[in-house]
């Protein structure tokens, strides 16, 4: 159990220090146009990747979950229809829950 606590505390400390480091790095790093552009594009690349990974994989293997895919498809349709953020989330969750209830585990 102490091992798990060590992992919990090390993860907490590591994650916090990484956040703090970002706010502490000298601002002149961002004076370079390429660095600034990189910092702008990082969330786009990582969030897109995170979305795909959380939808289609579990651990190190691909998973096919029709209910989850249906929810994501609904989210994309809502986004194409320019629905507000919260509507997109609610629609995605509702469709996924309905598909799950319908047996599309």
């Amino acid at each position: 159990m102490t091992g798990v606590w060590s992992a919990v505390l090390a993860t907490s400390a590591g994650c916090y220090l990484l956040k703090f480091a970002g706010l502490t790095v000298p601002q002149r790093v961002l004076a370079n146009a390429r660095v600034r552009r990189f910092a702008e594009l990082v969330p786009v690349a990582l969030l897109a990747a995170l979305s795909a990974v959380q939808t289609a994989t579990s651990g190190q293997s691909f998973v096919f979950e029709p209910a989850r895919l249906a929810g994501m498809a609904a989210a994309i349709v809502a986004l194409l229809l320019r629905a507000p953020f919260l509507v997109v989330i609610v629609v995605a969750a509702a469709v996924a829950a309905a598909a799950h209830a319908a047996g599309l585990a």
């Binding site: 956040k19 961002l30 594009l41 990082v42 969330p43 994989t57 989850r68 996924a96 209830a101």
Partner: protein
């Protein structure tokens, strides 16, 4: 950006509404984390400690996932921290706008995560960006921690998160958050697609969490090939 441009641009700045809305919507998925972590073998206190102090969902889920799978605690910790390294880049991006001083800096640091960055960067001017950051941070922090506790206590009683569609809340939120930037920027679309391709392409070969970090290569490629193509933020 020039102040007069901001004043004359009919961009709707809704940092409070968007931030609080996102905080509530994503924060509720803390129930899923709380339930998953306790089911993985973490105690209620360990689960709550992660939400209070690590406060970055993907890393928290990653650690719980490794513990559930019986993986090594060291690898689990390394993976979770690696996954949190994107927050350094977010902090780099936000520092110039937030410019936190004194006690605000260590507090603001805790709030540098996907959601606060996305809401902040979607605002048209620095004041709205700061407002969006703090609104999202406060609301999400409270909701995430309360719902983590509820999930941890109620694990096994509330049924599966999938029954409520909670497993798509994260992925759908991440996509919705970058959508305005995908609509306005050609480079952004390519970077997003490349990021997805890199992450999915390496998912079966690398430890969970690493493929998402590797997707930063797509951002690097985008910055090297089209450094001057910056879009006015929040123009969507």
């Amino acid at each position: 950006m020039p102040v007069e441009t901001v004043a004359s641009t009919p961009v709707r700045a809704r940092p409070l509404r968007d931030g609080v809305g996102l905080g509530l919507a994503v924060g509720v998925s803390g129930i899923a984390f709380g339930a998953a972590a306790v089911s993985s073998g973490l105690s209620t206190w360990q689960t709550c400690a992660l939400s209070l102090f690590a406060f970055t969902g993907a890393s928290q889920f990653a650690l719980a996932g490794v513990i559930a799978g019986g993986g090594s605690l060291l690898a689990g910790t390394a993976g979770a921290i690696l996954l949190g390294s994107r927050n350094t880049l977010y902090g780099l991006r936000l520092a110039g706008t937030l410019q936190p001083r004194g006690w605000r800096k260590p507090v603001a640091a805790l709030g540098v995560i996907d959601e606060t960055t996305a809401i902040s960067l979607a605002q048209p001017d620095p004041a709205s960006m700061r407002q969006g950051f703090w609104a999202t941070f406060c609301c999400l922090y409270l909701t995430w921690n309360v719902s983590t506790l509820i999930g941890a206590i109620g694990a096994g009683r509330v049924g599966s998160p999938e029954a409520f569609g909670l497993d798509v809340v994260g992925p759908a939120a991440f996509l919705a958050l970058i959508w305005p930037r995908l609509r306005t920027g050609k480079t952004e679309r390519w970077v997003a697609l490349a990021g997805v391709a890199i992450a999915l392409g390496s998912a079966t070969m690398l430890p969970a969490g690493v493929p998402v970090i590797l997707a930063a290569v797509a951002a690097l490629a985008g910055a090297m090939t089209a450094p001057g193509a910056a879009q006015p933020e929040g123009s969507a």
